[in-house]
Symmetry: C2
């Protein structure tokens, strides 16, 4: 193989390799192969190209590097360490020492180390996105690049090229086999994201063997078909060729670029290079020695950073980054004088803050027995807020008209490459029929400061769980807007009727799932969640109209903030039975309450739009809403009963869906599965033994 | 547009169109656009090519047609009706009249109609797979084609070309945007599935608008990159060109074929053709009239099947299919004499039956305090069974070595195109890092009679839920083998540690989720589920070793069949407290029981490998296992607590995971989250107020 690099470059590259194999060997767990083969690639990118100030990791115009091959985490940790990136907390405010110390590397994959098995955003500064689940990193990088284009189109002014960052993602075969990667690549090509560069570490080996057993497509041609610029690098160790390819990316202004780098997994290991065992197992003590010998390192020493390596990083990547950032700071200061409003917005974006008065125009909805669908209410509220927060961007997976997420305030445009259809400053995104990539793109945009939302029918969140989970794991303030939330969507039938999705989403740590009962609960939900800086939220909304409750009779919708509240009570506050509903089923409970009243049964109706928030309330509040002494309870939700025993208790009845749905008009479906006031009242009577 | 078809062809095509628009108009719900534009395509395929005997829809060598654009269901229902396909039940044994009557069409999207909103396998004969969620149909069709290749390679003999069926799938832009479609296309190209033909109805319109807003890739080039043969048809109404393209598919023997058909959504509707509103809304009464006029139909009449149309279908598709099937029956009879064993196998395949003695070699495992991982046990049991059931095929998403699903009995080979790596008779499939397609391929293979399994880490079922759900919805006996089932996988950390997946899967109707506690429960699980003909099963297995219980001391593992059973009890059968565990946590409960015994607390340990099966037991059995009078209960599962209150009750404690996991060695992880015998014992004491 070509060894065109200088001595110090070679030393630095091999330091990355040896740190990686030492850490993995000591942990006796990890993935050395990619860290070893891709070290020159990542090194060249960081040293010669990445505009990143190690002392200011929160700089908003920094280039982003996403390690989509998250299993090669030691590659990234080695880089962060050698580059001397400083630690900052999640909110990027506080700095305290090195992001990754040598001690962290020595305790790779141990509790407390900043070097967990896979890179975790918010835990280790320098990690731009949590990766590991394949395909997610590259898809997320597309969102980051979209945000870059949006920020540039929105805030750059003549003489103020504030935003011009590039986004790099390193991936392997796995990322390119995963569908989410394909979806994202198609979007990036359509959008002509010239600020996006994927580097494909083409080592031809996966866990189960050579890629010839399953992955023989022509990747370069596929990306050309997506509209990408494709560059080939024949030898991963040829850093001149790598630099040439990266310069070609920089020179390409009308398409994203993929650099296909041909490499040898486990490079440096005499026995294991080019073998699947290099992928996911430590090399073994003997092979570590042999590898170090091959790389010119002392086989008797571990965790060695040779003299000059850190300095070399500092004098190239570090200096370039610091210079660029300082220049930018000066530019931004000047920008603040010329364009104070925009500068203020940029500051808010950096802090995940909202402008004052963001909620001033949130509508309230008049009581109405027929009512409107909560998706309709959502559309109105979303627009009222978005008009005040210009960096709210979003769209749907080809159902924007149906999920009511089109932004139609005067300045909201279409996000498209410059042309007839729109430009990069548009707020309306068109994700296409690509739910999984959609949610990953949103993660990338939110990681870049935008308040981005995704939207689709609740059922198709099944397609996107990989990315939805990462938003939760990263504590991102993502807004999911999911409609057609139950069997009551009617005629589209069981393929489209969610049943298990609500339980599935509630089981996910960190995700706040809100299913509002009417238009005003919908408005309150938005009011509540927008200020969140670290919690993803799923709004789960109806297709069909639901009554708008008369809040002069019933309790105010602000109860949403507590997750559950008493909407309607027994006249003396001492109900015989409690009816607990969510979303559209709250109206059903209210109707059942009226029926029960005719039989002199006093029912309390509890609207429980959000279990997560309810569980966070103090015990006395929870007991006030659901007094333990009242065992007669009925829970009503057109979804899997899983989890409802918690609130129904042993004496209660859970009305839910134990089967898939049915294709028929709404009323027929409701009757068929027993979601009628009569059935709810009947269940209430059963719990009372009447 | 070219109108090269004969008068009767045109009449038949327009009958499909008018039946579709009438049904959708009457239901006031549905998707006319694709049914109208793709009618000539589907018609040409069915009339001139499809080898399908309408009277014998269960013929194992029939060509398959999958409507991947499931929303265009009326297109398929019209074809089934006009072709005169006879009804058969799910098991394809019983026949009783027409699969789709005109009355069914007239009650499209109503309860009881054989024409639900989207096509449902098992409900409507002629529907080869449930479709609607986009991308699933095409991905499933790849599995069907794989099964065809496997059946041919395994059972065809000189002079006996028993299996040579082709698989056709009709799809639109949506299917090609979805990642699952991309994954499946890559697999099909790698496998050179020359019996597979996708027809891409390229009408350039989706729900939200023209595809130029989001889908501008070069589809033809992308498929060439996958190794597909690509044919273009410039005009969907040109049935000569369509026939030419289909003949080109038949002549291609080294690759799958995609035919790109350029069409106009809503063709025939003067106002709505080429518009998004034709996609998913009824045309409206006036436009239905105008369309009928354009198509030469009486605008005053509805649901008209002109004289001669049914006969024309019968004399072409019907006669060709019946002839082919009769010829095949004769061939198969002869085959039965020449190759009786193989013929018997084919009969078993057709009935989803197992050969006698299939379970003869299932091992039992000796008690062992260290034990083995249940994934290890699974691998041994699977191989013992597969060696007796040659049509068990399967593999993993690039983790076969790790999930222990490689078939290594002597005849098990690698499923590959003929060459050095294997051939089409192999039983080991290599899905690649494509979990979603994997599960869809399995659906397709199981729909074709094979007993196919998929396998990956439990966490990555998140990527595949779209297809997992369809297996449940179709009542398919799919076998899912999912390992690395909890935070106890250790160092890979939170991106790889499942938390919410168990609850998510249990919430899915129809899916049987089994998490065995040790090697013998694993063996019992296999014994139990293989004979299932209509239930998908998920085996959820450990990465780490778990003790093999001494069944001379503890209850036999056959208790798995009841979903939950008393593994170890109080000496007098009157426990103070019940410890309920699943999988690896059962051993934890047993250890806690020993600790409690030292404090004179008598604990019962209930192993609950399968909640679904337990819930199906009679109440007295359930009450015997979990006596209602014993309120002191602890449930232990390293997963989301969602759903466990049902068994813990108000007086019990649920030990579960309320957060994501942690990257650290197993023992550290267990300590960190409190999954130790001491903590379980402590919780038990708390429930007892001690």
């Amino acid at each position: 193989m070509a060894q065109t690099q200088d001595k110090i470059d070679e030393l630095a590259i091999n330091t990355i390799r040896t740190l990686s194999i030492d850490a993995i060997q000591k942990a006796n767990s990890g993935h050395p192969g990619t860290a070893m083969d891709a070290a020159p690639v990542a090194y060249t990118l960081w040293q010669q190209f990445l505009r990143y100030d190690p002392k200011t990791p929160h700089w908003i115009n920094r280039d982003r590097f996403v390690l989509s091959s998250g299993h090669a985490s030691m590659l990234l940790y080695s880089l962060i360490h050698l580059a001397g990136i400083k630690a900052a907390d999640t909110a990027y405010q506080k700095q305290d020492g090195d992001a990754v110390t040598l001690a962290d590397i020595e305790s790779f994959r141990e509790d407390g180390s900043r070097c967990p098995g896979h890179p975790e955003y918010g835990w280790t500064t320098g990690v731009e996105s949590t990766t590991g689940p394949l395909g997610q990193g590259i898809a997320t990088s597309v969102g980051m690049a979209m945000a870059g284009k949006w920020l540039a189109a929105t805030y750059n002014k003549p003489d103020f090229e504030l935003f011009d960052y590039n986004v790099y993602a390193l991936c392997g075969e796995g990322c390119l086999m995963e569908g989410v990667g394909s979806e994202a690549a198609s979007v990036a090509g359509h959008l002509k994201l010239s600020n996006l560069c994927w580097i494909f570490d083409n080592n031809n080996v996966t866990i189960d063997g050579h890629t010839n057993i399953t992955f023989t497509e022509d990747v370069a041609k596929r990306f050309e078909a997506y509209g990408w610029h494709v560059v080939q690098v024949e030898d991963a160790n040829d850093i001149e060729a790598l630099a040439g390819a990266l310069n070609e990316f920089l020179a390409t202004d009308d398409a994203p670029t993929i650099i296909v780098v041909h490499s040898h997994i486990g490079y440096g290991s005499p026995e294991k290079h080019d073998t699947p065992s290099a992928h996911g197992e430590p090399l073994g003590p003997e092979e570590v020695r042999r590898t170090k010998e091959f790389l010119g390192f002392d086989p008797d020493k571990v965790f060695v950073v040779p003299e000059g390596v850190r300095k070399h990083f500092a004098s190239h990547m570090g200096r370039r980054g610091a210079d660029a950032r300082a220049k930018w700071d000066a530019l931004f200061a000047e920008y603040g004088r010329a364009h104070p409003d925009e500068a203020k917005q940029i500051a808010l974006i950096g802090g995940r803050d909202l402008p004052e008065g963001w909620d001033a125009d949130i509508p309230t909805f008049d009581a109405d027995a027929t009512g409107i669908a909560t998706r309709e209410a959502s559309g109105k509220v979303l627009n009222a807020i978005a008009a005040k927060v210009p960096w709210i961007v979003g769209g749907a997976a080809d159902v924007a008209g149906s999920t009511k997420v089109i932004l139609d305030y005067p300045d909201a445009g279409e996000f498209q490459p410059y042309g007839e259809l729109g430009d990069y400053s548009g707020n309306n995104l068109r994700y296409g029929i690509r739910e999984h990539a959609m949610c990953a793109l949103v993660n990338g945009m939110v990681l870049s400061g935008l308040r981005a939302y995704d939207s689709c029918y609740l059922i198709f969140t099944d397609y996107a769980r990989g990315a939805i989970r990462l938003a939760s794991l990263m504590d991102l303030p993502v807004l999911h807007i999911w409609t057609h939330d139950s069997i009551s969507l009617g005629q589209d039938g069981p393929t489209h009727q969610p049943v298990e999705q609500l339980a599935s989403l509630r089981a996910m740590p960190g995700l706040v799932v809100i299913r509002p009962a009417d238009a005003n609960e919908t408005a309150e939900a938005y009011r509540l969640v927008l200020p969140h800086k670290n919690r993803p939220v799923a709004l789960v909304l109806t297709r069909q109209a639901v009554p708008i409750f008369d809040r002069s009779t019933y309790a105010p919708a602000s109860g949403v903030a507590k997750g559950a509240y008493v909407l309607a009570d027994a006249p003396d506050g001492k109900p015989d039975v409690i009816l607990i509903g969510t979303g559209s089923e709250v109206a059903l409970c209210v109707a059942a309450r009226d029926l029960l009243a005719k039989d002199n049964i006093a029912a309390r109706v509890v609207s429980m739009p959000c279990r997560e928030l309810f569980e966070e309330q103090p015990e006395d509040y929870r007991n006030a809403v659901l007094p333990p002494e009242i065992a007669a309870r009925v829970t009503v939700e057109e979804a899997s009963p899983l989890g409802w025993d918690r609130y129904a208790g042993a004496g209660g009845i859970v009305l839910g869906m134990n089967t898939f749905g049915l294709s028929a008009p709404l009323k027929v479906v409701s009757e068929h599965f027993g979601f009628t006031p009569e059935k709810v009242a009947e269940a209430a009577k059963r719990t009372l033994g009447r």
